[in-house]
């Protein structure tokens, strides 16, 4: 009953086409993350689901109801805003109780519900304070509590963690995950932080310039990016792309031979940095590259290498001896190579 | 949510009100002023121009404006530039200096009457300094210059704070880095003022000048409080023709004249102090 369905939604702001026909289905109790670079239309899509923006074309359904032209208050949603939007003239208690009061719940029921979500978010101590007396993380908790208090069918969050410092963000991320597992609220969550997306999401929808380019579980998206954009956007360092040429249904890179999806012609070979094994000496099934930069990152050594004008990255053990200028040999792990169309960038 | 018509609904009452209370009066002031018997003509203006007080009123109004407005702007600019040098005292001084903002022109006139009147504080001071023996009435027809200067003093006292606020608000918009950059490049304070502060302050100066000039053209209660009709001014004449002579036609002619010179002055300021778009978007 808490599902969201977005059908062919187009949104234009004057000449700017912020959304170009988006289809999306969020299952009941699912945690779906909208991920994409700045300006790709994530917020716009979320606001259309919330009813804060009307789509130029297309329909929005929540549960089985068509809500496209309903105001936000009739949609059964709750939203957590990027800057929290906590009412500064109300105490924390009144903020959390706000939605319940609008529903004219009896005072006793309100008090009980507020206590309950306050406990869930560990803000019992703060209920009598005003927002000005809260830290950023505390405000964030209040905003989430306020949204959960109304027991929405659907919870919408727009970069709720982006205003927190790095440490607090990690902590709140874990907490949110625990919380939403407990409450099992259908959630649509916007972020441009791919780590956040990977760690929280049941499924991720990657957006780019007003379109959803891939929808899948974090693992799918990480290991089987639909195109070079997704591969490059997700993962740190991003996926490597090496231009290769297929001949006779094979790609040959020094000692490396792989069956290719195309009979002949240019291709892009995609491989993640951690899927490349690094050897100091030539190795069976490996190819050669020159070291440009060596960065010790702690758990591993990040190498930036060059081969035939293309730079790419690989990860080695921290103890690995490498110096700029040296030639190393790399071998992809079994089954980790992907091929992409050199012009469209689509996975093959 | 259909919000297309909502903003129009919200501004509609104000628009109608302003049209009714600005558009209509301006229109009918013209009708009133150009009415002559059953037809139209310049009769009201002729009567106005032939009146004994007219020339004095026109001259006094223009002269007062010409003296008061530059004085206020210069003074306000001085105060505005002084404020940042006062450190923590800034707010307190700004508070004191803006007190006259809330004082009406009539009250200001009376306040300064207490000073300039025959047995007032000015004469008492002059007496104490040994410059004056007996009380002398300055606010009379025989001392036009003294009367004029009294009005100038009262008006400058009352209305400089308005200019001050506009200029202080304008100064706050000037990025500090600009001035600091000029300082780094070795500009003297004098050069910084002329080359950076003043040009960037132009939009605020423009607003202040327009506002003050229009208000100066309708100077009325201060003058009446200080000197009755001894120093005729245009708005005062409009009032006397309307209230004492019961002649709305000539009064309207005065009103149209005031409107005319107000618009002309506004236009002049807009032309002379053209603010380039790129300075303030």
């Amino acid at each position: 009953m808490g599902s969201i369905r977005v059908e062919n939604v187009v949104k234009r702001f004057g000449k700017v086409e912020a959304l170009k026909g988006v289809r999306l289905q969020v299952q009941d109790q699912e945690f779906l993350v909208l991920l994409g670079p700045s300006g790709c239309g994530k917020t716009t899509l979320l606001r259309i689901v919330a009813g804060l923006e009307t789509p130029t074309q297309g329909e929005v359904y929540i549960g089985e109801r068509r809500v496209t032209h309903l105001p936000p208050r009739l949609r059964g949603i709750a939203m957590v805003f990027q800057n929290y939007a906590i009412f500064p003239h109300l105490t924390v208690y009144e903020n959390v109780a706000f939605g319940l009061r609008m529903k004219r719940r009896p005072e006793a029921a309100i008090r009980q519900k507020v206590r309950e979500v306050a406990a869930l978010l560990r803000i019992e101590e703060l209920l009598e304070r005003y927002p000005a007396q809260l830290s950023g993380g505390q405000r964030q908790r209040v905003a989430v509590a306020r949204a959960l208090a109304v027991e929405p069918e659907v919870l919408l969050m727009d970069e709720p963690l982006s205003n927190l410092d790095a440490l607090l963000r990690l902590e709140m991320r874990a907490e949110l995950k625990r919380l939403l597992k407990e409450t099992r609220t259908t959630t649509l969550y916007v972020t441009h932080d791919q780590v956040e997306a990977m760690s929280l999401a049941d499924r991720i929808a990657v957006m780019r310039q007003g379109e959803i380019v891939q929808l899948g579980t974090p693992t799918e998206i990480y290991h089987h990016p639909a195109d070079t954009f997704v591969g490059g956007f997700i993962g740190n360092p991003p996926m490597n792309f090496l231009p290769v040429v297929a001949e006779g249904g094979q790609v040959v890179l020094d000692g490396l031979r792989l069956p290719s999806p195309a009979e002949r012609g240019p291709l892009l070979l995609g491989i993640r940095a951690e899927d490349l094994e690094v050897f100091p000496e030539p190795v069976e099934g490996g190819f050669a590259a020159r070291v440009l930069v060596v960065e010790p990152l702690g758990p591993h050594l990040q190498l930036t290498l060059e081969r035939e004008g293309t730079t790419f990255r690989a990860l080695a053990d921290p103890g690995f001896a490498a110096a700029p200028g040296a030639t190393l040999y790399l071998r992809p792990k079994e089954g980790r190579v992907r091929f992409f169309h050199p012009e469209t960038g689509k996975a093959l | 949510m259909n919000t297309r018509y909502l903003p129009y609904l919200l501004i509609l009452p104000s628009v109608l009100f302003l049209l009714l209370f600005f558009g209509w009066p301006v229109l009918s002031a013209f009708l009133l002023a150009f009415r002559e018997g059953e037809g139209w003509g310049l009769g009201q203006f002729r009567r106005m121009a032939q009146d004994l007080y007219f020339q004095d009123a026109l001259r006094n109004t223009l002269l007062l404006t010409a003296v008061i407005v530059p004085l206020q702007v210069a003074l306000a600019l001085g105060m505005a530039l002084l404020l940042p040098r006062l450190g923590g005292g800034r707010d307190l001084f700004l508070y004191f200096w803006t007190i006259p903002l809330g004082i009406s022109d009539l009250a200001a006139g009376i306040v300064w009457l207490a000073i300039f009147t025959e047995r007032g504080y000015l004469n008492s001071l002059l007496h104490a300094l040994g410059l004056l023996d007996t009380p002398t009435g300055w606010l009379t027809y025989e001392h036009p210059t003294a009367l004029f200067l009294s009005v100038v003093a009262a008006e400058v006292w009352r209305a400089t704070p308005l200019v001050l606020l506009i200029l202080v608000a304008g100064l706050q918009l000037i990025p500090k880095e600009l001035i600091e950059a000029a300082e780094v490049f070795g500009a003297t304070p004098w050069v910084r003022f002329w080359r950076i502060t003043l040009p960037l302050l132009k939009p605020s100066l423009q607003v202040a000048l327009i506002l003050r000039t229009v208000l100066a053209f309708e100077v009325f209660a201060v003058v009446v409080a200080l000197g009755g009709r001894n120093l005729p001014v245009l708005a005062g004449e409009a009032y006397f023709w309307y209230a004492d002579y019961q002649n709305p036609g000539v009064a309207a002619a005065y009103a149209v004249l005031i409107l005319g010179i107000s618009l002309a002055a506004t236009f002049l300021y807009l032309k002379a102090l053209r603010v380039r778009e790129e300075v303030y978007g």
Partner: protein, 264 residues
């Protein structure tokens, strides 16, 4: 720290405060002191005689009451008409918004003299002449552009997300405005109200032209100026100044919103 800025600042302060001190001194002096020659600059004998005489004059209380009614109406009209328009300016990018802004700013080029005279003729015809309502309407014409611009800047300073949050939590537009925007804008709106009040309280010309029997205090004092004795004038002047002082104290936080910014 150099001394001369402080000396200059003190000189300016003296220039502003001295006349107020002197009018207060005159108002609290006994009658003889007002006519004394030469005058003393320090309070000799304070007395309420002059002020009592002022309030004893027939019509002063009535005119004060009329002034209060007119100012009250002006406040109500300015806010009721101005706040919605300010909200529209702050929240909607509708076509015609700039034209509306220009209209508001344009009103400054029109002297009150031009408004008051034809309106007096009109009011005579429709029965608004010599009524507090008529004067309040003209005063509203003076304060409305300010009320719109100031409330627009107030609403602009309240994040739109607060309102949107209220909508998502079950509010209609009106409820969100009343429950969230209004409480936050209230202090600023109060300052705007005080501003409208003092503008009306101070206005002389229109009030004089539009009334005959029911004069406001300023208009009444103006008609009495010719024939009234000095102590009466001084007491009246002082009585007019006092609200100004209170007013400025109350709105000092909003000084710039009320004048500096709204004049841009």
């Amino acid at each position: 720290m150099r001394v001369w800025p402080w000396l200059l600042a003190l000189a300016f302060t003296l220039w502003v405060l001295l006349p107020i001190y002197l009018i207060a001194l005159s108002a609290f002096s006994p009658r003889e002191a007002v006519y004394a020659w030469p005058k003393a600059f320090l309070p000799g004998s304070l007395s309420l005689e002059t002020l009592r005489f002022f309030f004893g004059v027939e019509g002063v209380w009535r005119a004060t009451a009329t002034s209060l009614v007119v100012a009250g109406l002006t406040v109500a009209f300015s806010l009721l008409l101005g706040a919605p328009a300010g909200y529209a300016l702050a929240r909607f990018p509708f076509p015609g918004r700039d034209a509306f802004r220009v209209l508001l700013i344009l009103t400054r080029a029109f002297p009150i003299v031009v408004l008051a005279l034809p309106l007096a003729v009109l009011f005579l015809r429709v029965g608004l002449y010599d009524t507090p309502l008529g004067v309040a309407l003209v005063h509203t014409a003076l304060t409305l552009p300010f009320a719109v611009l100031v409330s627009a800047s107030l609403f602009l300073s309240i994040p739109k997300e607060l309102e949107e949050a209220a909508w998502t939590l079950g509010c209609t537009r009106t409820q969100a405005f009343v429950k969230v925007v209004l409480p936050l804008a209230l202090p600023g709106l109060a300052a705007t109200a005080i501003f409208a009040f003092i503008t009306s309280w101070n206005e002389v010309f229109a009030a004089s032209v539009l009334t005959l029997q029911n004069k406001t205090l300023t208009a009444y004092l103006l008609t009495l100026l010719d024939e009234s004795p000095l102590p009466f004038k001084f007491a009246g002047g002082f009585f007019l100044v006092v609200p100004a002082l209170v007013f400025l104290f109350l709105v000092r936080r909003y000084l710039f919103t009320l004048w500096g910014i709204s004049h841009r």
